[in-house]
């Protein structure tokens, strides 16, 4: 959580109620400070060989998630997934979409 947003938040809370801003901050759920998903970039590669294994031959996808924090600053979060990991990732988002539709 960026330091700046804490200051803004504190000020906003103080404006609402004279005392107890610190207590109120503790009541706010952690994901209030969730970052916004902006975009995803991806790259598919195949690891052919390594020093410990001459025949790796596994495909993997590298993704870069573009996210924006509460102050609007954009950062890239990168990580790799093997095929089974990717399939699970995909499945979770499909489930999410299904739930969002029904709510």
């Amino acid at each position: 959580m960026a330091a700046g947003s804490v200051v803004l938040l504190t000020r906003a809370l103080e404006a609402l109620d004279v005392g107890g801003a610190a207590d109120k901050i503790n009541l706010i759920p952690q994901d209030f400070f969730a970052e916004l998903f902006v975009d995803i970039k991806w790259k598919l590669g195949v690891a052919m060989s390594s020093d410990t294994c001459r025949s790796l031959k596994y495909p993997y996808v590298t993704v870069a998630l573009k996210v924006a924090d509460s102050s609007g600053q954009i950062t890239n979060k990168c990580f790799e997934m093997t095929v089974p990991q990717f399939k699970n990732f995909f499945r979770q988002f499909k489930e999410m979409a299904a739930v969002l539709e029904t709510v």
Binding site: S50, V67, F79, K94
Partner: protein, 251 residues
């Protein structure tokens, strides 16, 4: 030496040996310094004399060291019945085949990695041999001077069949040095209040992703997705899936 004291019955022979290997691995490879020789002996081989156990432990430790020389922690030791061990001992032409039997009438441990060279076993893992390749490789080994017998080849084939996937997975993970997605949780919330009136009652997905390198501390990323963003994500993930399918079809 005085007669052995009355001790609680020993664990089943084959299991005791497996447990011993596990204990050695914990101490030698995972830094569990409190697993002492005395602890292992008391728990697994209470009726064995200390010197006898020490010799067994040293032998097992040495074998595990050979097995782990390719940086993969697996045991190239197969548990066989005494009958199988006997037939292997009789038919084998390699004087280095070692059979460990402790206690004497329980299951025996056949050291496969000494029957073929550690390098050959490493070749199998490194090449990630399929069953046809393995058969050809082992047949070639049986024809070599001082090579393995067809019985030993059968034992090795059985071992590789059982362990291949796990070993390969281990090798794959060892060669991943970037962040991976270790875990992911999500829930869907309904925004009940907002500065912008039009956002009321919009469902939003909150996703928590645990990112980090294998064996290192994780970063927890908390992201918010509305319905449109989830659609955008699904579109991109579909592209990835299509690429993966195209790739596996051509290889």
């Amino acid at each position: 030496m005085a007669a052995a004291e009355q001790q609680p019955p020993a664990v089943d022979g084959g299991k005791a040996l497996s447990a011993l290997l596990g204990g050695i691995a914990q101490a030698a490879y995972y830094g569990k310094v409190d697993i002492t020789e005395e602890l292992l002996r008391g728990q697994l081989y209470p009726e064995a004399a200390p010197e006898e156990f020490r010799a067994l432990r040293a032998k097992m430790g040495g074998l595990l060291q050979i097995c782990s020389c390719s940086h993969v922690m697996y045991s190239a030791l197969c548990v066989v019945s005494p009958v199988q061990a006997g037939s292997l001992a009789e038919s084998q032409s390699n004087p280095n085949l070692e059979i460990f039997t402790h206690p004497p009438d329980a299951h025996c441990l056949v050291n496969v990695s000494l029957a073929i060279t550690p390098k050959a076993l490493q070749s199998i893992a490194s090449a990630d041999m399929d069953l046809n390749q393995l058969e050809a490789f082992l047949t070639a080994q049986t024809k070599k001077q001082g090579g393995i017998t067809s019985d030993q080849a059968a034992v090795i084939a059985k071992f590789w069949k059982n362990h291949r996937v796990k070993i390969h997975e281990s090798l794959v993970n060892q060669s991943c040095w970037d962040n991976v997605l270790k875990n992911m949780n999500w829930r869907v919330d309904l925004k009940s209040q907002s500065r912008h009136v039009d956002q009321i009652n919009t469902p939003v997905a909150i996703v928590e992703m645990e990112l980090g390198k294998y064996g290192q501390e994780s970063e927890f990323l908390c992201l918010e997705f509305d319905e449109a963003k989830v659609s955008q994500m699904l579109k991109k993930l579909t592209e990835i899936e299509e690429s993966m399918t195209a790739l596996t079809q051509t290889t």
